[in-house]
Subunit: 140 residues, 2 copies
């Protein structure tokens, strides 16, 4: 197994609402409006939205309705950009689970939660390098 991740699929209860939320953040998809699944190209990988019941069935799990110990993160090039993205998310209807502040690991971050309860940390980590294309590289 190569060291990579191809796709992260988020289970959603209302696909149109979830799609509108990510589009309100500025994301675009080629998916037709009648598609049962929505894929967003995110660099060399893909983020997908799919009905939570279908995803549970397909993944061999039952959906407890709670949070499942997975956090997504979006890294920025500056602390100010964290504030800006959190405001964008708030304007798009996200709940802000943690307002932007300095973190114990020496960075600056906040957390927004999408309409289906998926948390996104928006973080500036001064130790991680971000390329022109948004790719992140670990130190060392």
């Amino acid at each position: 197994m190569e060291q990579r991740l191809s796709l992260v699929t988020l289970g959603v209860s209302d696909l149109a609402r979830a799609r509108r939320f990510y589009e309100a953040l500025g994301w675009t998809t080629r998916a037709a409006t009648e598609e049962y699944v929505v894929f967003f190209q995110t660099g060399g990988m893909v983020v997908g939205l799919w009905g939570r019941d279908q995803l549970a069935d397909d993944s061999g799990h039952s959906d407890s309705g709670g949070w499942g110990r997975v956090a997504l993160a979006y890294n920025t090039r500056s602390p100010g950009e964290v504030d800006a993205v959190i405001e964008e998310a708030r304007a798009a209807g996200a709940r802000i689970a943690r307002e932007p502040a300095e973190t114990f690991w020496g960075g600056y971050s906040g957390v927004f939660v999408d309409p289906d309860g998926h948390p996104w940390e928006v973080a500036h980590n001064p130790h991680w390098q971000i390329g022109e294309d948004g790719s992140v590289t670990l130190p060392g």
Copy 2:
């Protein structure tokens, strides 16, 4: 907010066990053995392992212990590679939630579950292009 994802963090109950599992799949990390968090560089993004309690707290969520409607996927270049990766995961101690088989969307896939309950679909999707570096590109 640019259309990208920097980091996916998986909450785990035993970091050493989780790390051993991903290392048994062939992944490598520069994290010291005493680190409280383990990061794997996965192309232009990062997959992390962190204590489930800390991750819950940091993400502003409580951990129900169940599955949280997030599925990870690893796309292969052939159906045979799906079988091979599922066998690798089984040998590393994963539960196989779905044995490899043809899918309703015209591909071939199986699902393994890591020691902390995180499902990974291993899929061959003939409609998605995979680059030399493992990056995936949506059609169109």
